[in-house]
């Protein structure tokens, strides 16, 4: 056995933990008792979780992925010096420069995510070692005025990363100039978009960076109090951010007279309670105040009269995470990245039918195709990609033929989608765009606060029409009605939820009208998804007669004799087309069409 001293770093973000990081760590500790262990947040390669990096005392590094209790012994053997290099588990190595996985990270430009996956999120010392809190120190010790901070952010040309893309410095200026002794700065960590997890990774992986961003914003607008509104569904983010607040307070970065200056600022965490509409500023404020999270008419804008009637700025987690870098490196350096109108970088959460899903931070201006193919590795299956859903329920579907669209606010808006907070859900030919539109409408109808009639009733009616189409009971007039209703809901709703609710429907009709027509006229679901339009049948020539489908069928619709493939049938009168049989069938003998 070799005497190599290993330092072992384990990715223990929510996704790493979900994939089994605690079990892997336990086994590694048992088998390599002399190694030093470090815990970090998610590096962003969620598709390779559980991920572990091992570095020896001579600086040789190996980054491993897809580790399980089963395959871990191979890695342990290698690390102990008595086994061969298990190449299939290796993502990147200083000794093996050609590992494919390495490209995932090297093709990114990481500003907001620069520390995520690199440090222990609960260690303030590690954040300080990486230049943490230097930006706020620079502001205070160099005597930068709040106006100078706003000017620097203006030069950076950063736009709000929550989705709408309003220039951050302009928004700050309103609050800075608003009269009032008490002002609030709120961190919007209510990442409600299904399919998005950028904020979770930032809050979990580098909480001090977000906190420092809050300090910079608070200093710029003159806020003395702050709230971090974080989804209750992200318990680790709440825990780590709470610890960061406590540690920063003890170290003098929060509280009265920060770093001996006249600047005082403190933060409280408020946990969200599961309402998508609370991502909207005025609804979020109502929620913090203990009310139902309902939006209100603007003006007055929150920057003038917000939380408890005081001037309030609400910035998204990702916006805040960029600020320390901007102050440290200068606004011009940030503006030099990206495009003229969309500066800097944008973080995306890649998921769905993609080979390498995870977190991706790229300069604005690169194409969607670059993200999906060069970084995401293209389709996860042999099926071609057909669309990408951008911006969650507020966004839209961009078809493959528009994948060369550059990632910048205006260009994305021109497709009918929106940048949104950065969720990118990828679809291949086995997904149904009508079902997807129905899914989003069900979501928005459910999440509508009910204040505006068009949003309350309009989304409900749209969902009903889409459900009808998915069941094969739609008419061609339904498609026109959907477009009409969609535009009405857009124009007659008070907040972003209603104003954007129709986007998934309108873009799928615009780009995938043929799928709607197939559902309506041919009573066929091309993706093989809509339960009312598909039938499950057993292909007896492929069947092995193993009976597993029978065991998992929830309605006992399958019968046959064990080991007699020709006897197996699904009773269409009983079958609910749930697809369980197809999922468990090893020989792939069940056809859904």
């Amino acid at each position: 056995m070799s005497n190599t001293q290993w330092t072992i770093t384990v990715g223990e973000g929510s996704c790493g933990i979900a994939a089994g990081a605690p079990e892997v760590t336990e086994l590694l500790k048992k088998r390599l008792p002399d190694a030093q262990f470090k815990s970090v947040g998610c590096v962003g390669m969620c598709h390779r979780e559980v991920m572990v990096e091992t570095v020896d005392d001579q600086g040789r590094s190996y980054l491993w992925g897809n580790l399980t209790k089963k395959n871990l012994p191979k890695v342990i053997q290698f690390l102990r010096g008595d086994g061969v290099l298990p190449k299939t588990l290796l993502i990147r190595s200083s000794e093996e420069p050609d590992c494919e996985g390495g490209h995932y990270l090297t093709r990114q430009t990481r500003i907001a995510l620069r520390n995520v996956g690199q440090l222990n999120p609960t260690s303030m010392a590690q954040y300080l070692d990486r230049g943490g809190y230097d930006a706020i120190k620079k502001i205070i010790t160099s005597g930068m005025t709040p106006e100078a901070v706003i000017e620097e952010v203006k030069i950076a040309k950063i736009r709000g990363r929550g989705g709408a893309g309003f220039p951050t410095a302009t928004k700050w200026g309103f609050a800075r100039n608003a009269p009032g002794d008490v002002k609030y700065l709120v961190c919007n960590g209510d990442e409600g978009d299904p399919g998005a997890f950028m904020d979770r990774s930032l809050l979990e992986g580098d909480p001090h960076n977000v906190l420092e961003g809050m300090l910079i914003a608070a200093y710029a607008i003159g806020a003395s109090k702050g709230y971090a509104y974080i989804r209750a569904e992200y318990p680790l983010a709440v825990q780590y951010f709470g610890q960061a607040i406590q540690d920063a307070r003890e170290a003098g970065y929060l509280g009265y007279h920060i770093l001996g200056s006249d600047f005082s600022f403190d933060i409280k965490i408020k946990e969200g309670a599961g309402a998508f509409v609370c991502g909207e500023e005025t609804a979020l404020m109502a929620s913090i105040q203990g009310e139902r999270g309902m939006p209100r008419i603007r003006p007055p804008f929150p920057a003038i009269s917000g939380l408890f009637g005081k001037p309030t700025i609400i910035n998204n987690v990702e916006t805040l995470a960029n600020l320390p870098w901007i102050i440290q490196n200068g606004g011009a350096a940030y503006a030099a990245i990206g495009t003229e109108k969309s500066s800097g970088t944008k973080v995306f959460a890649l998921a769905g039918a993609i080979a390498r899903g995870g977190l991706v931070e790229v300069p604005m201006g690169v194409t969607i195709r670059h993200v999906l193919e060069n970084i995401g590795g293209g389709s996860a299956s042999t099926r071609p990609l057909k669309a990408v859903q951008l911006g969650g329920p507020s966004g839209g579907c961009i078809p493959e033929r528009l994948f060369d669209t550059p990632i910048e606010y205006e260009a994305i808006n021109a497709t009918g989608a929106i940048m949104g907070s950065g969720g990118m859900v990828v679809m291949d030919s086995k997904s149904c765009m009508v079902d997807l539109a129905r899914y989003f409408l069900e979501f928005t109808e459910n999440e509508s606060c009910g204040k505006c009639t068009f949003c309350r009733i309009g989304t409900l009616r749209m969902k009903e029409i889409l459900t009808r189409i998915c069941a094969g009971e739609g008419t061609m007039e339904d498609i026109d009605l959907l477009e009409d209703l969609g535009r009405s809901v857009q124009s007659a709703s008070l907040c972003g939820l209603g104003q954007t609710a129709a986007n998934p429907v309108l873009t799928t009709i615009k780009y995938f009208r043929d799928e709607y027509i197939a559902h309506v006229q041919e009573k066929r679901c091309p993706g093989g998804v809509c339960k009312g339009l598909i039938t499950h049948t057993i292909l007896n020539d492929k069947c092995s007669g193993c009976s597993i489908c029978e065991r998992y069928c929830p309605v006992n619709a399958i019968t046959g004799t064990l080991k007699h493939p020709d006897t197996w049938v699904i009773d269409p009168k009983i079958c609910i087309n749930c697809g369980m049989c197809a999922e468990v069938c090893n020989p792939d003998a069940i056809l859904a069409a």
Binding site: H47, A232, A273, A275, G293, G392
Partner: protein
């Protein structure tokens, strides 16, 4: 077991403790409800009444908040909680099948119900737990299971049930 018997016995001192720790003005409504639900798994009526009596929050505001947010439940829950993620990625990867298979295993056939009749498990759909790259995902008692297919969901549930001495209606499907 009759689900009515699952009503929790509320400890007034505990409710008082939460109010003292969190606050009694109207902005405390959400965190107080979160504390109550965190302990009892739902919002028992008795606890709500105590909050109304001991804070400046009136009943209409408290119930208004409790019924507005998806997180809160006014009905008792099972001894164990299963959350099935229905985010976009999970939906596209077949989250629906998880519900079908779990409900089958738990013997919950009434679409209006979400708790097994013996009070063992409650199946709840959640909007998105933010592990989209590992879709579909479900969470049993706080432990997340990544890349679960319908059949895996049953297997994990049966395993959990065995470890927690719970008896399930559909356990005979396992082999």
């Amino acid at each position: 077991m009759n689900l009515q018997n699952m009503e929790a016995t509320v400890d007034p001192e505990l409710v008082h403790h939460w109010i003292t720790a969190i606050g009694s003005d109207s902005s405390a409504a959400v965190p107080i409800l979160q504390a109550i639900q965190g302990h009892y798994g739902y919002l028992p009526r008795k606890a709500m009444d105590l909050v109304v009596a001991q804070t400046g929050i009136n009943a209409s505001q408290l119930y208004g908040v409790a019924t507005f947010y998806a997180q809160f439940r006014l009905k008792p829950v099972g001894r164990h909680m299963i959350k099935v993620c229905h985010g976009t990625a999970c939906h596209v990867q077949g989250a629906d099948r998880l519900n079908t298979s779990l409900r089958h295993a738990l013997g919950i056939s009434n679409p209006e119900q979400d708790t097994a009749s013996n009070g063992s498990y409650t199946v709840e759909n959640v909007a998105c737990i933010g592990c989209c790259s590992l879709a579909p995902v479900m969470v049993i008692d706080g432990q997340a299971f990544p890349n679960v297919k319908g059949a895996d969901a049953q297997r994990q549930l049966f395993k959990h049930a065995r470890e927690n001495n719970e008896i399930l209606a559909g356990q005979d499907a396992e082999n």
